[in-house]
Amino acid sequence: MKNCRIGVYICMCGTNIAKIVDVESVSKFVSELPNVTLVRTYKYMCSNPGQEMIVQDIKENQLNRIVVAACSPNMHERTFRGALRSAGLNQYLFEMANIREQCSWVHDDTKEATEKAMAMILAAIRKVELHEPLESMSVDMSPNVLVIGGGIAGMTAALELADAGHSVHLVEKNAQLGGNIARVDLTAPYLYSARDLLTERLTRIRDNKHIKVYYGSKVINLSGYIGNFTAAIQKQNGKTGTNHDPVEIHIGNVIVCTGYKEFDASRITHYGYGKLPNVITSFELEKMIRAGRIETKEGKVPQYVAIIHCVGSRSQEFHTYCSRVCCMTALKYAHEIKSANPKCYISDVYIDMHAFGKGHEDFYLRSSEAKTLFLMYEKNDRPVIHRAGPKDDCEMLIEVNEKLSGELIEIPADLVVLMVGMEARPDSAEVAHLVNISQDKDGWFIESHPKLEPVATTTDGIFIAGTCVAPKDIPDTVAQARAAAARIMAKISKGKIEVDAVYSEVNEDICSGCRFCNKLCPYSAIEFNEKEGHSHIISALCKACGVCVAACPSAAIKGRHFTDAQVLSEIDGLTQTIQYVEP
């Protein structure tokens, strides 16, 4: 390659790299390579002085290619690209050799590690020689947002966006908004009325001219990419069977807040749900509490109430996860039942008491003070409910191995409340497919990073919030909904969206139109131009994974920044035999 002036920077990363790799020998080896103008070693390349050194060298020595041998590009590629930009050099004329994670951290022999580091830097040099300056492009960002699901998450997100003046399309499958929260009376641990939480939001949504609510409707199609989606919304009419014409809307981003479904208690035969009349689920108790009468099917006020935790949750047979809200809800029931009838005896049959949130531990203490009898059972040793005998003063007896006393006990009960856990909705797979996001083994939608990107997904422009991601309580759901709205507003405020310059391109002259790549693309980034008979890659959606490049039988697809020539040259560098002689 002509006129290549490469600067190579070898980082010691304190002693992380230098204690295994002989950095000075590597430096000497690199300095003798063709096209290398300058080699420097430094204790911390990522530090400000380290970056300034690169900027200055580029200016003073007219460097036009940079290689940094340091940590993983996941860690600091952005940092060094920034240094190139501030020196006025195209940021893609840069390559990183990962001699920390892939070399010094995994080897303990200096000779082998040093030889490997040399080879990795050589490969980076061979690749960077062929790099071309690339320009990132930008696409328009529509300020409209589609929110799927009108529970507490969807309503919160919609209001957040609409309050900022953005137009929101809120699609709700049912005839009214509210979702699962509309089925609840009070909320734990502060005993706020769920109805109050809801009414305030409903009024604000009704009065907000930026929010259009589609009741009893479904999103039946979503196409396009971030900033430029087209969605089709159809009003469902189950009873008459007539299909309404779908409404087509244009939006820039989507928030999925489809929520959860409660576990079907009849799946656990031990509990006799559906057979024993006074075994009810938590939602059935909510109904009673809302109606103002807690009573058995026979209309009697129960003297003994037993609450069984983890119904469907934390078990190998059903769901292994914790549903997070049931423990506090159970304590709330103990409180509500005791308030309604102070003479009632409440047994709380649990596996572990998960009182993790703000105010939860205090609430647990208050339940103890109110003499709720807490009885612990082993995860895989579920209680069994029997009908009581004629001599007993109760309707049912719950038999369980009590863990804290080590006794096999019978708990008297007139009413048994099953704390049914949360599970993914049966139509979640359909939704995932519609908006092109993934689900985990339990059917929950997967975030793009569980810690750092909790509301984004691997598809740009699609966000998830609330209990469709995993079980969570109301504060966490609201926080996620607002986070998703904030993420979208940040994008909208820019007006345009930057698309990474690294993506794949189809050479339309060579493309035979076989459409292999169409089906393989994991990001649905490839569309087919029927008229011209060739495939086209939407650069805004492409993540440059390279699947289409490898699959194309006509070699018509080029991965920018990872061209065949670049990759082959890199491999060539990596496979050179290098001898390290200890100085």
Binding site: Y345, S347, S368, F374, E402, E407, P412
Partner: protein, 385 residues
């Protein structure tokens, strides 16, 4: 066979003093800090659990509450302020009411008022009887010898009658305790000779209360005062009881002091005076953990004892200084306290004088029996290659 949980039990126990047991979440800190808990006798946590769950039939067969001397380290350590020490105390009260076949103890523990009214009733009855007897048989100006208002042979018979009554109740209750703990509560076979082997423990624990001092084995700094005071009080009490039951006629003769008998009386009085004052002060000031909560029966116990001691001393002084009329009246007041006090014994906390050494004795027998059983199981086990 499963045991029925009784959620009502915890409410009943409130009357016996267990007000905070529901707060316990079974971290087990109490059992860790307790110097007496071990592999066989696990408490207070286990007892707390049995109480919360209302396993009455289990609790009545346990010895654990008697193995606790309430040093209070568990309550100091408890993160939930569930007062395990006080819970053990209330279980002891409950057990006393359980051993008592008459049901009187239960009434006394449940209602302080009932107890006080009963005591006043018996005191008045005593006064009426003694004044009637005194005036009809003697002269209020004569204390001792011929024509005495309350002659010593008469008092001796009176005391022995009370003592036998007391003994009958106590013997029946002790038998019930043995039946609950050793027949119903001990699941392993107990050979008769174990009762002989461990018999020395009865006097040993009765007279030394060594186990009380062992409460301090883990604590730093060690607080031995409650043990010393308790021991002094108990010895004083027992000496006095023996003197009254056996040597009353020599005690009452005077005005010359009979040193062979009176020296013991004075020593016992020192123990009783310091003991009662110390305990009343500590209960009022709520100094140590064990004095922080006082059940109505605790107050009746210590205050009545204090009155007995005071009137006893006063009567003694009046007698020796020749104020016979005053001595006779104080004597009746003294007996007005003594009679209900003695009759109350089998139905009150005082009964632990008998139950505690018995419990140590039974506990040792049960432990031996369990060890024997384990050894025999081991020797019978088949080794598999």
């Amino acid at each position: 066979m499963s045991i029925r949980v009784n959620p009502r039990f915890i409410n009943d126990l409130v009357l016996f003093g267990a007000e905070d047991v529901q707060l316990c979440y079974h971290c087990g800190d109490c059992s860790t800090v307790c110097p007496h808990a071990d592999e066989v006798y696990k408490f207070p946590r286990k007892s707390m659990r049995q109480l919360q769950m209302g396993l009455e039939r289990k609790i009545e067969t346990t010895l654990e509450p008697w193995l606790c001397y309430y040093c209070g380290q568990c309550s100091e350590q408890c993160p939930r302020e569930a007062a395990p020490g006080e819970t053990m105390m209330s279980l002891r009260r409950w057990l006393i009411s359980r051993y008592d076949f008459t049901g009187i103890a239960k009434q006394f523990f449940k209602s302080g008022m009932t107890e006080i009214i009963t005591i006043i009733g018996f005191a008045l009855l005593t006064a009426v009887f003694l004044f009637y007897y005194g005036y009809s048989m003697g002269n209020i100006h004569i204390y001792d010898g011929k024509g005495a208002f309350l002659s010593s042979p008469f008092i001796h018979k009176f005391d022995l009658t009370l003592g036998s009554l007391l003994l009958i109740f106590l013997a029946i209750n002790a038998f019930r305790m043995w039946y609950f703990t050793m027949i119903k509560g001990t699941k392993v076979p107990v050979p008769w000779w174990l009762y002989v082997k461990e018999l020395y423990l009865l006097p040993w624990h009765f007279f030394t209360q060594k186990r009380y001092s062992e409460c301090e084995s883990k604590r730093n700094p060690k607080i031995f005062m409650p043990w010393i005071i308790h021991l002094g009080l108990m010895l004083g009490y027992v000496i006095m009881l023996i003197l009254v039951m056996v040597f009353i006629e020599r005690l009452q003769s005077g005005p010359a002091i009979q040193w062979q008998v009176h020296i013991f009386g004075y020593l016992a009085t020192i123990g009783l005076v310091t003991g009662t004052i110390y305990i009343i002060r500590n209960r009022l000031n709520k100094t140590y953990e064990q004095y922080k909560k006082s059940h109505s029966t605790d107050w009746v116990f210590i205050v009545l004892l204090f009155f007995i001691v005071l009137t006893g001393i006063a009567q003694h002084i009046f007698h020796r200084t020749g104020l016979y009329e005053l001595a006779n009246i104080t004597y009746i007041v003294h007996l007005m306290c003594v009679v209900p006090w003695l009759l109350r014994m089998p139905f009150s906390k005082w009964a632990h004088l008998v139950y505690r050494p018995l419990a140590m004795y039974f506990a040792a027998i049960r432990r031996d029996a369990i060890t024997r059983r384990e050894i025999s199981l081991k020797s019978n086990s088949v080794s598999i290659k």
